[in-house]
């Protein structure tokens, strides 16, 4: 791990991260799985419980901190990323996590989100994307598909959705990933990778809201359809998918295409695009991000991009240290009595 958060021999288990509060989500809600996977991976990070902070906004998903036995702050709608930024800058020793919803992060909180990504603040942002406003009982969200009938759009919505992955890439995020509530193993892997990233780590998690938007991701979670509709990204591996691993992605000029591979296929596995998380040109990750919006392509999950660049918080600490090195640590008395002063005797 590349984090500068203190790591020591701490023997924690998932149970240590459970609070005494009853979990109040609807039975069957995808949030339960995200909570469980997170509680499972946290002990493995070797970070003492008291060094972990969970920040959230408002929404069903934003109740998350109440159920996580670390420091936690359930703030106001849309502001989680900005508040988490303050926490991290003020106290860079902490491992700071954000739990947020598609309304919270992308609707009212959109500005803080893109600026956090841009600044590369060392936060782990978990987007519980259920493509609906859960807590306010079912209005469409900025990730809802066009035409969606909801309480506020009885005749169907007329908005195009955001693609959170390309929005994060367009905002220069250094770690961009996606996973699914219903794939616990994958989700755990991605969460661990995010934990290890130094910089803004953004994970879009497809989350089922069984009350107001049930089955939003069934194509990607149901046994019969998921293999043909999900492309699992693996660094350095060719992009193969399909029930029989018989489909793949190639690039033609600047345009990606789905082709058949293997026996009877038009292409060999060697023709396929090979995933490269750290492609600095960002073109590959952007192309993969775009695929999620399209019916012709499988939806990629995994890590779209991980690049390394100094974090805002490290730069802030380093700038202070370097100035203190040059000018000495501030002495208020000396400062006040220096410069254009005069004495009245």
């Amino acid at each position: 791990m590349t984090n500068n958060i203190e790591q020591k021999e701490v023997k924690l288990t998932a149970k240590d991260f459970i609070t005494d509060q009853d979990v109040r989500w609807c039975p069957g809600c995808g949030d339960y799985s995200i909570l469980a996977q997170t509680q499972r991976i946290l002990p493995e990070l070797g970070i003492p419980k008291e060094k972990i902070v969970w920040i959230s906004g408002i929404g069903c998903s934003s109740r998350f901190p109440y159920y996580m036995n670390t420091y936690g702050f359930h703030t106001i709608h849309g502001r989680a990323a900005a508040i988490a930024t303050g926490v991290k800058l003020a106290n860079p020793d902490l491992s700071v996590w954000v739990a947020t919803g598609d309304g919270d992060l992308l609707s009212i909180g959109g500005n803080h989100f893109i600026h956090t990504c841009r600044k590369n603040i060392d936060l782990k942002i978990l987007l519980f994307n259920n493509r609906i406003y859960g807590l306010t009982k079912g209005q469409y969200s900025p990730t809802s598909e066009k035409g969606k009938v909801t309480k506020s759009t009885p005749y169907g919505s007329i908005d195009y959705p955001f693609n959170p992955v390309t929005l994060a890439l367009g905002s220069e995020a250094s770690f961009v990933a996606r996973s699914i509530d219903r794939d616990p193993k994958h989700l755990q892997t991605v969460l661990k990778r995010a934990a290890g990233h130094k910089g803004t780590a953004f994970i879009e998690i497809y989350q089922n809201c069984n009350i107001f938007n049930d089955g939003a991701y069934s194509l990607m979670t149901e046994k019969e359809t998921k293999d043909d509709n999900v492309l699992v990204l693996e660094h350095g591996r060719p992009m193969v998918f399909g029930k029989n691993k018989d489909k793949g992605i190639i690039i033609d000029g600047t345009t990606p295409k789905v082709v058949s591979v293997g026996e009877g296929g038009t292409h060999s596995i060697n023709d396929l695009l090979v995933h490269n998380e750290s492609d600095t040109s960002v073109v590959l990750s952007y192309m993969l991000g775009q695929m999620s919006n399209s019916p012709e392509f499988p939806t990629p999950i995994g890590i779209f991009r991980q690049i390394f660049k100094p974090t805002y918080n490290d730069d802030m600490e380093n700038q202070i240290k370097s100035i203190q090195g040059k000018r000495g640590t501030g002495d208020l008395e000396k400062f006040l009595f220096s410069g254009n002063t005069w004495e009245v005797r």
Partner: protein, 614 residues
Amino acid sequence: MAKKKEIKNLSEATIRFAGDSGDGMQLTGTQFSDTTALFGNDLITLPDYPAEIRAPAGTLYGVSGFQLHFSSSDIHTPGDHPDVLVAMNPAALKINLKDLNPGATIIVNTDSFDNKNLKLANYAENPLDNDSLLGFNVIQVPITTLTSKSLEDSPLSNKEITRCKNFFALGMMYWIYGRPIEPTLSWIETKFAKKPEIIDANSKVLKAGYFFGETTEVFSTRFVIEPANLPKGVYRNVSGNEATAYGFVAASVRTGLPLFLGSYPITPASDILHELSKFKNFGIKTFQAEDEISGITSAIGASFAGNLAITTTSGPGLALKSEAIGLAVMTELPLVIVNVQRGGPSTGLPTKTEQADLLQSVYGRNGESPVPVIAASTPSDCFYMAIEASRIATKYMTPVILLTDGYLANGSEPWKIPHVDELPDIRVTQHTDKEGFYPYNRNEVLARPWVKPGTPELEHRIGGLEKNNIYGNVSYDPDNHEFMVRLRAQKVQQIENDIPELEVQHEQTGELLVMGWGGTFGAITEAVIRARRQGLKVSQAHLKYLNPFPKNTEKVLKSFKTVLIPELNLGQLTKLLRSEYLVPVQSLTKIKGLPFKASEIEKKILSILGGENN
């Protein structure tokens, strides 16, 4: 050889520099102030600049002014009417003439009184050529020409040379008021260290201006204003924004907490951000946020993380922060919100002063959301009020709003520098003890414990939903809600036990009390002094605590037959006092984007007490 000049002793003088936004009037005024401060006078300044950055030369709306009142005794205002106006162009003359009393001196740069500039200033005729300036002592100086002449050998371009002309004006004024030119010479050297030609040019022009006064016949009189008899000590000149910034540095030192500022630039508050961003060697973190909401919420995050957290803004920014202040109220996190008030409503008059955010500060949040509100009364008082705001915030675990205004922020005055160890001891100890710890358990002043994340075994969660008493868990219980709403109100109200009583200057009871708050302090003080000199019995009090009010406020109000409340708004303190104490106070309001003149308040005092000028 020049005649021997007459020398006149004065107790005080008010001067104003005025010219184009590009003429460097703010710099000229600041230099005159700094030198005058070093010289030992008491002084107060009033910069006044347009909202445009560099409006086209010669236009009326492009005029920038800097007024300065200095004296051999204690003074309180930047002066009602300039004794000397330096007008660098016709527009500056036009805009400023109405503020002069007959007999005032006007120094004009005749070079700029050409047809083009006269037209831009809407002068049909050249006012220097008709008798429109009759009664004034008009001194015509071809400042631009003289500047160019003194730089005949300079390698600078014509444009660059012309730009030095403000130093000529400054030199003349130094001569007239017998100030040394050395401080400015050395300032020029530091400032332009990398540009020796500029040092050379500016210094030459400054001297040329000075010697112009000395050698020509143009000025017959020089004035002497002796150093003021200020209390002993070491002084510096500070503006309100500087003092505010230094105050928070001091609060950081004295609380023992790292300081975090989350802020979004906005006039006239930006300078606090600028100033604090220089203090990196104090470990101070300044975060220029993407907007005001991120400014305050990042500060709330920093407060949760254990820092002394502040956010700075002006009116429209405070409006944007309303929702987040409520979060700090509910989660009982310490936070100081500085609001440097400006002219409103909406974008209003961004570079002008006003006091119209008082009610917004006290009431501008959803729900019952009590917040202590305090206000600074002079530029240097900003220093102490920044410390006081930090003390209240950390002691009571509450957001605090500190009000200043554009006049205090940009105006400056000599400040007797305190020693750091004489400042209030407000050391903060954060909670680390597991024993009996609950996030909403309270101490004797009803403050809940402040635990820095990272503290082992005290992991806990807070948030904006109503919390149950003591444990801090989410609670929808009706009785608990009522209990908590009243508790939060009480927590803020009891601060009245921990703040100084309201002091009354002069008689403690009587006919008339003039009571103000914030930046009107100087004008009220001066007005009361003047009225008293005329034999009128009028007392003064100044509120620095607006919520809660000092405990004896009611008593003070009821000790006078009439209470006059001068405010730069439509009577906002008046509203609060009437509602709180049911007292029929009188309101004196001004909403021009400018501070009160002492004479405006004096006139009102006289009219109430039946004085002569009535």
